[in-house]
């Protein structure tokens, strides 16, 4: 002891850190308070120092003391001071030290608390925490308890991820753990190393022998899978390893019954094969080995796919697709199987199979496969799957430049068939395919045009339905093909007719535009055909048709359509005029659309050689200066155009070139008699100024592009905006707002109302959320209250009704449940309900019989309970002057009118003629509701006979159970879950044996007797809720299996809960 004191004083000479403090407290078990008070004194001293590190240390110690329950609020200022110090490390350390020391401190007491701390740590490892805790966790890795070691090993992985530097020092210990006697720790270590190796396999090659040993010895499939995964990562680096693995892997594949392990093996083999097979050719023998094991895999996969288990089927297909990349041939032999999978009812499996098909097609089987797919398209129900099928068909057919298509007529008809799909989104895709094929495959055009003409003819099929909007894109392609290759049309007149139908106006604008344009092309071809004939009227009729129909498009809202239509309309009108003069125009009209459009590959531009001396990256002009006013941003919108103009203006900046041109121009001007020469003065300026800017010609050029309508306008907006902003900036300096406006350009003002209106909306939202998430909000309680109050009045009345002899039996039960007390004339002769009919047994000459008492909590006031008593006169005489009195207890008092004494009775405000019943209500005030209460009382009354009247007295007991303090309150499951999550409820449970009733009866019973409501019920399990008059929440979880009912209960008041549970138990023991 003396030694300790000495040691303590030596400690005091240096600054104690947290560790010392903890140790000190432990050493001073006998006089802990004293020791701590000295410590606090020291801390006070330390806090007064200027050194922030000392202060931080002090605060660390304070956190520990507070944890022990000492008040450290006096140091709040210092804590805040340290917390706000610029050095973040102090903050981290304070939190951290507290944490570590909690870990280690408790570590001595219980491994489980350390476990909890570690688990918690796994959720929030940050680089800082990882750095500071790495050492501590490493120590825990060799804890005596495997439970801690296991957790520490796994946490270490998280630490490595956040703080990789810790890996090197920790690695030897981690390696040690691979041979830990505890299988849990071992598997944890395997797990961690496997994960690490996946990130950087090279460093773990040296562990291969160890793992190899583990693999051959381990029987734990979880571990085996991890090891195999690890080898999967290692084999690409060390080919010899692969060779060595073949045998154990093959053994595993053959022997294991665990599908997960089999799948992992196959996967690893495939992956290993992938790497070994492709880039470096392995020696022949190895290749043979690989081939063998590979065949095995594919066979195994086939077994997987043929399995009835959907999961295995899916995985088999997934693995197949991996093999497909390297070995399409070996997969192709299983085509039948994969096609079968297309019939599967599971969408994911079908999608996987589709993926596989893509790689399996060849020239030979393409048509067959697509035919099969088309069948599926017809059958498919969901639009997503159908769309997927559609894109896959197109993908499969069009892959590598239509490599596998031998017959394009077939492909066109497939595309046309696809247009019949309802509700697809991929009309555009089909259209682009049609265009592509028609342009690139010349031989197909006749067929394509014929098909497209039919499509156009039947366009109403596509436009009619709103759902089919997506597909009408196809009409774009159809119209274009029919127009462009109109010479192949069999009946161009009919097609022209179809293109100019009024219904076309309902199509999207860009399609209409194509229609108009191609109608013109078609018109040109028609003219040519018809002018060849002797009959000229046909040609004129065609023109008339155009003139009749085109105005429809001229009125279109779409500018593009309008422009084209009006342009063509004028053209046709002109042609008509010429036709009337018998002029042949066809040739000239045809010339409008002469020339063939050729397909241009997307990369075609690359093939054009760059002319010598042309540097595409060099600036043609001086780049526009970057240093502009601070208000750069709004200008940037238009700045794009700025350099373009300048580039267009001065294609060459070369001084010499300019001079040469100027010279040439002068020459030309001089020679040109039409050129009005500038005045000599301007000419002079022109000559004198050598700079590009001073050339007047340039200035004129400049004004031309700027006259594009719209641009100067928007420029104005920018200016206006700038001016306005300038003003605003003076007014208020809100930077953010400004930015927003700058982006919006000229429309900024309108949008100003944006945020305001948003604000207008949000409260509405909030209201929604509140009502949704908090169904027990105050506002909602009110209706419940009034409802209950009404019921309190009603239910006794009902019970009164039920007291007809016919329903005697059920009534008895219910009255008992309601804590009914029966009173007969002689209070000491109480008759319990069970003992048959008291009327006969004790019939003297008068009874007050069956007074029912319904005890209800008063919701308006947490401390009031209303007792409704029904009095029924069973005798033949008149009862009057009834007086109700109860002996108050400390906890509960009968509410009496003001001015009456504490022992006065309350007079019942009615008289009872024979055979009549009536109800009276009495209010009791309760202090505490956690315990049940029994109150003794008496009822005095006068029996009035024909000739005399007798004074009588009846003793009774009022039993206030805890259940009677509960109020049936509905509760939504979300609110229920929230309530439980709040975590401040105490738990308790009971088990009822031999309850032989259906579950719903059981629930009904609890609801009825104990005022609970069912929150949720799932099979033979239900959660229930109730609230006491003082607002205690009571939650039940009732579960039944066989005749056993287990009730778990949670409540914020343990005593109340215990009593309620006892009462529930009682209820069920009586049945």
């Amino acid at each position: 002891m003396a030694l300790k004191i000495v040691k303590g004083s030596i400690d005091r000479m240096f600054d104690k850190n947290l560790q010392d403090l903890v140790r000190g407290i432990r050493n001073h078990k006998e006089d802990e308070a004293k020791y701590i008070s000295t410590c606090i004194d020291e801390i006070k001293q330390e806090l007064k120092q200027d050194n922030i590190a000392v202060k931080a240390n002090a605060v660390c110690k304070l956190t520990y003391l507070q944890m022990l329950g000492y008040d450290v609020s006096w140091a709040a200022f210092n804590i805040v001071e340290v917390m706000s110090s610029s050095k973040f490390t102090y903050k981290v350390k304070i939190g951290l030290y507290a944490h570590v020391w909690i870990c280690q401190e408790i570590g001595y007491i219980s491994q489980y608390d350390t476990g909890v701390a570690l688990t918690g740590l796994s959720c929030f490892v940050t680089p800082d925490l990882a750095r500071d805790l790495a050492n501590d966790i490493m120590t825990l890795m060799s804890h005596t308890k495997p439970y801690i070691r296991k957790k520490a090993v796994l946490i270490m992985y998280k630490v490595f991820l956040k703080y990789p530097e810790s890996l090197r020092p920790a690695f030897p210990r981690l390696k040690e753990k691979l041979e830990d006697p505890d299988p849990g720790v071992q598997s944890a270590a395997v797990n961690v190393i496997c994960e690490l190796a996946r990130r950087n396999p090279k460093n773990y090659l040296s562990l291969a022998p160890l793992f190899f040993k583990l693999m051959t010895s381990s029987t734990n499939n979880w571990v085996l899978i991890k090891i195999i995964k690890l080898f999967g990562a290692l084999t690409p680096l060390e080919p010899r390893l692969g060779k060595k693995l073949i045998e154990p892997l093959t053994n595993l594949i053959h022997s294991t019954s665990a599908m997960s392990l089999l799948y992992e093996c196959v996967n690893t083999v495939i992956a290993g094969h992938d790497v070994n097979g492709s880039p470096f050719l392995p020696p022949f023998s190895l290749a043979l080995f690989l081939f063998l094991r590979f065949q095995l895999c594919v066979q195994k996969l086939r077994i997987l796919i043929e399995d009835s288990d959907q999961n295995l089927k899916y995985l088999g297909l997934l693995a197949m697709s991996k093999i497909l990349k390297t070995h399409p041939k070996s997969v192709q032999s299983h085509k039948d199987l994969i096609l079968q999978c297309l019939d599967d009812k599971d969408e994911s499996i079908r999608l996987r199979a589709l993926d596989l098909l893509y790689g399996m097609v060849s020239k030979k089987n393409l048509m067959e496969i697509v035919k099969k797919l088309m069948l599926h398209v017809d059958k498919a129900e969901g639009t997503t799957y159908r769309d997927e099928l559609l894109t896959k068909i197109i993908d499969i057919c069009s892959q590598s430049n239509y490599q596998y298509i031998t017959n394009f007529e077939w492909y066109i008809s497939i595309l046309v068939e696809l247009t019949r799909l309802e509700g697809t989104r991929h009309g555009h895709l089909i259209a682009s395919q049609m265009l592509d094929v028609a342009i690139r495959v010349k031989a197909i055009r006749v067929f394509a045009v014929a098909q497209m003409a039919t499509l156009l003819d039947n366009a109403h099929l596509m436009t009619g339905n709103v759902q089919r909007k997506g597909i009408c894109e196809v009409l774009y392609a159809a119209a274009w093909i029919c127009g462009e290759f109109s010479e192949h049309l069999e009946n161009p007149m009919q097609t022209l007719e179809a293109m100019l139908r009024p219904k076309v106006a309902t199509l999207p604008g860009h399609i209409q535009a194509v229609y108009v344009q191609n109608a013109a092309k078609l018109f040109a071809t028609l003219l040519k055909n018809q002018e060849g004939n002797t009959d000229r009227t046909a040609a004129q009729e065609t023109s008339q048709l155009m003139i009749d129909r085109l105005p429809l498009f001229v009125q279109s809202a779409n500018l593009e359509v309008q422009e084209r239509a009006s342009c063509i309309l004028q053209l046709v009108k002109y042609i008509q005029k010429l036709q009337q003069k018998d002029v042949e125009v066809a040739e000239e009209v045809i010339a409008l659309f002469a020339g063939e459009l050729n397909p241009v590959a997307p990369k075609a531009q690359k093939k054009v050689p760059v002319p010598e001396g042309l540097d595409l990256d060099a600036w043609i002009n001086e780049p526009p200066s970057e240093s502009e006013s601070e208000d750069e941003q709004p200008k940037a919108i238009f700045a794009k155009e700025e350099p373009k103009h300048s580039r267009a203006r001065h294609t060459e900046v070369d001084e010499k070139e300019l001079a040469k041109r100027r010279e040439a121009r002068k020459q030309e001007q001089a020679n040109n008699p039409f050129y009005i020469k500038a005045s000599p003065s301007s000419q002079k300026v022109y000559q004198e100024a050598p700079g590009v800017e001073h050339i007047p010609v340039v200035q004129i050029d400049l004004s031309v592009p700027l006259k594009v309508p719209g641009l100067p306008m928007s420029d104005q907006y920018v200016k206006l905006e700038e001016e306005r902003r300038q003003k605003e900036r003076v007014e208020k300096k809100k930077k953010e707002k400004k930015k927003r406006k700058e982006k919006r350009g000229g429309r900024g003002k309108k949008h100003d109302s944006g945020p305001e209106s948003e604000e207008d909306i949000t409260p509405a939202h909030m209201v929604d959320i509140v009502t949704e998430e908090m169904p027990l909000a105050d506002s909602e309680k009110l209706p419940v209250r009034s409802h209950r109050a009404a019921e309190a009045l009603k239910s006794p009345a009902e019970d009164g009704d039920a007291e007809s002899p016919a329903s005697q039996e059920p009534k008895k039960k219910s009255s008992k449940e309601k804590r009914e007390k029966k009173k007969d004339k002689d209070g000491d002769r109480k008759v319990s309900v069970k003992n048959g009919n008291p009327t006969r047994e004790t019939a003297l000459w008068m009874y007050i019989y069956g007074a029912e008492i319904d005890i209800q909590g008063n919701l308006q006031d947490g401390s009031q309970v209303v007792v409704s008593v029904i009095f029924e006169n069973k005798c033949d005489n008149f009862l009057k002057t009834m007086e109700f009195n109860v002996l108050d207890s400390l906890n509960s008092k009968l509410q009496r009118p003001e001015g009456s004494g504490p022992h006065d009775g309350l007079s019942v405000p009615f008289q009872l003629p024979p055979g009549v019943s009536n109800e009276a209500r009495f209010v009791f005030t309760m202090q505490s509701i956690v315990m049940p209460q029994k109150l003794k009382g008496t009822l005095t009354f006068i029996i009035k006979n024909e000739d005399s009247s007798t004074h009588e007295k009846l003793d009774f007991k009022l039993h206030f159970t805890c259940s009677s303090y509960l109020i049936t309150t509905p509760c939504y499951s979300d609110a229920f879950a929230k309530l439980l999550e709040s975590g401040d409820l105490k738990c308790s449970s009971v088990r009822l044996e031999g309850v032989n009733m259906p579950f719903h009866h059981l629930l009904a019973r609890i609801c009825f007797h104990h005022h609970f409501s069912v929150v949720e019920r799932i099979d033979s399990c239900a959660s229930m809720y109730s609230r006491s008059i003082q607002g205690h929440h009571v939650c039940l979880l009732v579960k039944t299996s066989g005749q056993t009912v287990s009730i778990d209960a949670k409540c914020d008041e343990p005593t109340l809960l215990g009593n309620v549970l006892d009462e529930i138990k009682q209820t069920f023991s009586q049945c």
Binding site: S110, Y157, D346, I349
Partner: protein
């Protein structure tokens, strides 16, 4: 590595969530919404795997409750199914004929079992017995704690 585990009912009500990586609250909400709609839309008797972004979603339905596990791409789907099943077994063992409502009512226990089984997205313990023992032991510890607390209440 396991990224997250979600338990939700047939009605799409979330019963338990465990995230093994740091994800913002908003992102979480979005993921939960995606998962419930995706998984609940699946037909019965179809395979239990889905692809979602760069993750594999493995789900399984037990009675009215869906267990939905997200794993990284290189992980083994079948082992993930085993993980789900093992967790259900553990719950069942602890609660006795486990029901969805057990998980709401004793959610802390459900989380605790999970924490004993998985840590940081990795399997911590493959043996059922050891997990059960750990849970029992910590239950005892907790009971000891609460009785102590109770005494303090009485005398304090």
């Amino acid at each position: 590595m396991i990224r997250f585990l979600l338990l939700f009912s047939r009605q799409g009500k979330l019963r338990l969530q465990k995230w093994f990586t740091a994800i913002s609250e908003r992102e979480k909400k979005k993921i939960i919404r995606d998962m419930t709609t995706m998984v609940l839309a699946r037909q019965p008797r179809t395979c239990n795997f889905l692809h979602w972004k760069d993750l594999k979603i493995i789900y399984k339905r037990y009675a009215s409750l869906y267990f939905c596990l997200a794993i990284e791409n290189q992980e083994n789907e079948l082992i993930a199914l085993e993980v789900i099943h093992r967790y259900v077994e553990l719950l069942d063992k602890y609660f006795g004929n486990v029901c969805e409502l057990d998980i709401i009512f004793n959610f802390e226990k459900a989380y605790f079992i999970l924490d004993e089984f998985l840590i940081g997205g990795e399997i911590q313990e493959t043996s059922k017995q050891i997990v059960n023992r750990a849970i029992e032991a910590s239950d005892m510890l907790q009971e000891g704690d609460s009785s102590e607390w109770f005494e303090v209440e009485l005398f304090g």
